[in-house]
Symmetry: D2
Subunit: 326 residues, 4 copies
């Protein structure tokens, strides 16, 4: 089995994925998409950036939209358990020769900026401004009723290497696909917060962000969003779904924002807090791993992703196409 054993006592304690900063060309168009259409709430906005949170979040933001000349992903953010974990993380990344810096970030406490071995820009923090609960202000709910950011999914040019690295600081694999011939990983889903994933990697030219995801209450909210997108000028932004993933068992929809950044709307995966949870193996040739109901994903879904700022992507080590590409 290609999945490494979990590191149960990692050097520092990551609690969960936290936020993403997306570079976007037109703040107003992105605001229309994330706020008016999807239903995220604005925590702060100025001429350069808009900070958003989902309905049950009390941290200040899960998405930052930042005005830029060209779209890309500036950073993926993670919350650690305590300040001491930040220092331990600083040492952990520095010891491996990865770039480390303490950076100032609005609305956040001490923040460690670093990158993973493939260059994905990461930031870690323990404290972010806390906002009053709004999860019972039902008049604010609209769009798809996003409850919280759920996960990131990245193209990796070497999934085994990505998994080994995130595993080394405590991310645990819940499900994975391997190439039966080479016994190399094709894709893997890894978590910290007790769901199927905080971070997933899929074989492909990378590093690139494949998508971010929001958790919503039920599949009917996804159907409501589809109806809304289809009748408000966003039909071309619907890329794939709705459907049920074999992997994760989640009900899903993939949509594209005005810059092509992909968002998954996601619900109904399962609890994974047991440290002895056995990773589920999927055969690369099993079409139901992607869509339990059998429908193929479109070509764009396999190919397109968002570049990370100032990070060159390189070709993947596995070049075989997945059997189930359409």
């Amino acid at each position: 089995m290609p999945v490494p054993s979990p590191v149960l006592y990692p050097a520092f304690n990551v609690i969960r994925l936290s936020h993403v900063e997306l570079a976007v060309k037109d703040l107003a168009a992105s605001r229309a998409f994330y706020v008016d259409l999807l239903g995220l709430q604005v925590s702060h906005e100025d001429a350069e950036a808009i900070y958003l949170r989902a309905m049950e979040e009390r941290g200040h933001h899960c998405v930052i939209l930042r005005k830029a000349d060209a779209p890309c992903v500036n950073v993926l953010g993670f919350k650690v358990f305590a300040e001491a974990d930040l220092d331990a993380a600083h040492k952990f990344f520095a010891d491996q020769g990865l770039p480390v810096a303490w950076v100032e970030r609005p609305f956040m406490g001490r923040t460690l900026r670093t990158a993973d071995p493939h260059g994905i820009p990461l930031e870690f923090y323990a404290k972010m401004d806390r906002l009053p609960p709004i999860h019972q202000q039902y008049a604010l709910y609209h769009g798809v009723k996003p409850l919280r950011i759920d996960h990131f999914n990245c193209f990796s040019p070497d999934v085994d290497a990505s998994v080994a690295f995130y595993n080394s600081f405590g991310f645990r694999v819940t499900e994975y696909t391997e190439d039966e011939g080479s016994k190399k990983l094709w894709a893997a889903w890894m978590h910290r917060k007790g769901g199927v994933h905080d971070m997933a990697f899929t074989n492909g030219r990378g590093p690139r962000l494949h998508h971010l995801a929001f958790w919503v209450p039920t599949p009917l909210n996804i159907i409501d969003l589809l109806d809304l997108m289809a009748t408000t000028g966003y039909v071309a932004n619907i890329e794939r779904g709705p459907g049920r993933h074999g992997i994760s068992n989640a009900f899903f929809l993939y949509i594209l924002d005005p810059d092509g950044h992909r968002t998954e709307i996601y619900c109904s995966d399962y609890q994974t807090v047991d440290p002895d949870l056995e990773p589920i193996h999927w055969d690369l040739k099993d079409p139901q791993r992607q869509t339990l109901w059998g429908a193929p994903a479109p070509k764009s879904w396999f190919e397109n992703g968002s570049a990370f700022a100032n990070v060159a992507a390189r070709d993947a080590v596995l070049t075989a196409q997945p059997i189930i590409a359409p």
Copy 2:
């Protein structure tokens, strides 16, 4: 506009579509599909046939599965308001030179057997055995929780002719697609019972049955069925969906039985009892008429249908392919 004016006082009063008799090769396999998987209830079964009803129906049957050497559709059944309507129907069809016969049918009263001008075998009746209500026996609900048969959809080689004929005895058009060049109808949806349709016609080699449909409570029941089919050996029987039709606004799924007969699982169309309800026109080039959310239907969905017993299909008068075929 190519849609004929409704005949508000037709010669006889059809209440609703009622039932279909499907010729199937393997009664046990068909029973597994319609009873164990979909959740229809058995009203009667013997060595030759199985009679089924849906959960809120009190008529004896909405589907008859009849053992045969080759699959086809034996007849489409309709319920009329009263016995007098049967006599009026006999005269109506006979006057047009169409075949008429009074036939004996189990569990049904006096039954008129006839055919439409393209040869679709039809039967009309006023009285069918009535069964006790089971709609509140919730322990019986399973599968997709089918509540009632909703409609038939047929390929017609000449949709204008089909619509004119059914219109002449009171079916009213609710929505339609026309070919902008020839101003001929591509497809039309016609009702008697107050929903979007009891009967629809689509341009294509015919006459053939495109599908029958069952009404279910909510889209979540369709998602439940997909999960069940996907994990009980029926994944290849899922043909198209789930999705929202532009036409009818219904949430849909198309599945295939063991003989290839197509069933639509359907919910959430709208009430059409107003006699002055304006038919909704759809452009043949509008991809959202088929799927509001933009996803194309598979080729099989445009091409395959079930032959009617002893009826030769002929090519359609319109030969242009719909723009939105995949």
Copy 3:
């Protein structure tokens, strides 16, 4: 059995219930309730009245809110099949010595104003202004996503008499409760449009309107409305529910508008177009007839109703309290 045989060929053809005019004390407060909270769409508004329709309706209005010094119900409206039915209705009511008048009503064609034997003010029309479809303008959906007006329910001082009268012009009983001792009807549900009811009568001081009802897509829309009401200052306007009725099998919620007019939010009853549909009998002592799940209704629900304009209510002929009052 106390239910009269249906009159299958009535003197005139009522298609469905159509609209209600409510006298309200504060148009702005009522607008906030019906438009902002429930999600009805404004067809017209001026200083004296607001006309509303639900999402799948194409007739101009289903509710008229009219400014008044004291709340009451001005009239219940019904749509007939054709103009000739209006003349037949005029004769029908006049022949029974009931008041008849042709009245001018905005947005409506020729309108017959009359009353039933207990004094309920009624109006009948064949033509109302038609509006473009909005059922696929999903950006307009909010609140409980009301799709269409579904029925009226009235207290009657003599349910047998009310049922006999409406039965005489074609309303058919679908379900009923009788007092086992006197064999008199306690309550009855009667329809024209093919659902469980357009009009129901319950024994009680009357005539008074017990409630009007809107059809919504699924029970989840009702849960959404409850969450919204509970957190926007309307928690005291929630009177009963959610629950499943034994009678009608519908999922329900009862709420009160600012003047105390009661609205039911309703979904998932069943199709009743068969003229030979057998009425379902319920025992007055069966608590599940009201709430299938067993929860009792509050006292207010049994007692309160809206007066009809200038109509004195009188005590009911049956005085026994229903067993299941809390």
Copy 4:
């Protein structure tokens, strides 16, 4: 504020609540309730006991039904992170003079048996037999489709003391109600696994188990269960609901098993993994804390609970009745 500060680095690491052993008088009746009605899966059964798991669980059991002469609760079980945590727990409880014993339990590894200061029997383990995943065997889903055990709720005679004790080994308070006069806790919800609670305490004669709870996919599954219970002889087992809790924001239903043990069916609370999550304070006089929609709970819900085996309950320190008792 009466809520103690969280102990972020407790002496041992409890992952989650795990299981409960219920003493029941009639195994067959209890099996009918938990297996046939609710939809739990049997992992093992013999003449003395039945072991059950929910659909997404891979641990061997979450409920043990054990035949007994009188109903009670034998033990509440919790899973710890690793074997070392068991030893640390042994020391932790022994140091406080609480009973500790290593016990043999079928299907489980090394098991520590102990009790909390009020006498609630507890057991901790790190390893339980693991079973293959069944969460995608959709043919097995029925009843309410229980996905996992979610929490326990206990009457405590001294909620401050209970909260202080569980807080001391890492349980964190998410929401609480306090008595405004005495500033003592009336109730508190405490978690380890990242939801609103693994364990809650409510002021009342105790210790007694108020209820255990299962997580289900959506509110519609709860409605399905209500319909099923109401029509299969279990209507009297429905105690309270459905409704939305103010506290936890969950959609709920309370039902009683054949011995009177209470089960909550529960969904849609929120994620609580942030260690700096601020506990939400509710006023004892706010009726919406219990039911957001305003409906009161029945008297039985405030009074009845299940005794723990061989543990005498004592009166609560707070004797004022909650304002919102019916």
